[in-house]
Symmetry: C2
Subunit: 268 residues, 2 copies
């Protein structure tokens, strides 16, 4: 998959980053970040229809930033987490706001066995996979996994002392035995509920995409995932907010390719 | 959930059905139907971006019909099945084509223990649920199930001698133990990979929606689900095509409310 991903991203490498869209699922995840960057809500155009998505605009240095939050489900009141709202938000935001870079930002699970701790922040590496789309038919099996590309942001990660990992996405907070086998096969070290769906849309529309994910829970810890998530959401969202501002500041005056390599070193 | 669904659909009851959008995932499912109704492909407007969706237009009697097929995944070549492509197709088609009724049409699994046979065609009843979104947090648990409303099409079902059932949606051809428990709790008798995602978008945009699903495989039969699906896809798609034409002919000169009740009988 490395070759596939690298091939499609190549023409985007020289794109200067002027507008960044940050896609977030939960209002509680977004709040510290929105406060910190002093973003102001902007109405959606009527043409997009009566969606629950909320756009917040601001500038970070010379960068235009739009933060798009999925919003609350009209029937259930809770945040629209999971892959369908993420895909729809990503689509509507990319088509209407034309960002040069899309960031899927939020909280996620990790594994103590990978050396991960609660509060660690990961940048996506290589590709985005799904772990809960099991379709045992030729061709559909790989489609189920997805493997939509991540921007190579290894220089950004090194510079900001962030971890890097493959992000795997599913629609459940927990995971089944089959999901666990898919996660092991993919080599993923970050588990979320949105990133691969956003990566699928970004790939369709030809927009470079990466994820920034703060760890709220350790999947292989004895404590219940839901309990850990609730206990650590506020702390992880605060940490996420700080890192996101640093990521945006890093993007200023850089191209997509500059996220992978130190321009000043002369390395390619 | 009955009350919730009924309440939100009430204002739509008197809407005359003039344009119907039929959303389908697989080209093989759609082909017999597209041939039968002599639909012609229509280009997507540039504003929607480079999507894989294919639109086919035709008229059935006095009814405008647009069939929207998810299309092939650009990386994997296979049809874009599952909930994200279904949601995106539904959104783009509803916002741009303004149908009075949306039909999620395709093949699905059923249960022999419910008296279902391969080739049976079901019309959706009451609500659409997800069985693979397990989120054990207050409020999010019910959000995970979804329960977005189906149009009451009981009179249509009786008239065309179709079965009625709750449709449950997930992103896998098989299902986990937890998925099985969710299916049992919902009382669903039809299992597909798209309908609930389309119902979520239809509910957001206020468009009445139902599903027509032809059974390719019996989940509780000894034979492998994938083998049954491959063996029965062609026959079920043919049967689906015949039924869809009858459904569209039934919709002509009727309102959404007329799908539930025999107007001529004076019943409400």
């Amino acid at each position: 998959m490395k070759t596939l991903a690298a091939a499609s991203i190549a023409p985007m490498q020289s794109r200067p980053i002027r507008t960044v869209a940050v896609i977030m699922a939960m209002r509680a995840e977004a709040r510290p970040f929105l406060d910190k960057i002093r973003a102001t809500e902007r109405e959606l155009p009527e043409t997009v229809g009566p969606l629950q998505i909320q756009w917040y605009d601001t500038r970070v240095g010379g960068l235009n930033v739009v933060v798009s939050v999925n919003g609350a489900d009209r029937r259930h009141g809770v945040d629209e987490i999971g892959t369908q709202p993420a895909a729809l938000n990503a689509y509507v935001t990319m088509v209407n706001r034309r960002p040069d870079l899309v960031i899927s930002a939020g909280t996620a699970g990790g594994w103590a066995s990978h050396g991960t701790q609660v509060g660690d922040v990961f940048v996506s590496r290589d590709r985005f996979v799904f772990h809960d789309r099991h379709i045992p038919l030729p061709g559909f099996d790989q489609y189920g996994v997805g493997s939509y590309p991540s921007v190579d942001a290894s220089y950004l990660a090194r510079s900001l002392r962030l971890k890097e990992g493959i992000v795997t996405t599913g629609n459940s907070l927990d995971h089944s035995a089959a999901d666990g086998r898919a996660i092991a096969a993919s080599g993923a070290s970050v588990k979320d509920m949105e990133a691969a769906a956003i990566a699928w849309v970004a790939d369709l529309l030809g927009v470079p995409m990466l994820a920034v994910k703060a760890i709220t829970d350790l999947i292989d810890a004895p404590a219940d995932t839901a309990d850990q998530f609730v206990a650590n959401l506020s702390h992880a969202s605060q940490r996420l907010s700080d890192v996101l501002v640093a990521v945006l500041e890093f993007c200023e005056d850089r191209t997509i390719g500059d996220l992978a390599h130190d321009r000043s070193s002369g390395a390619k």
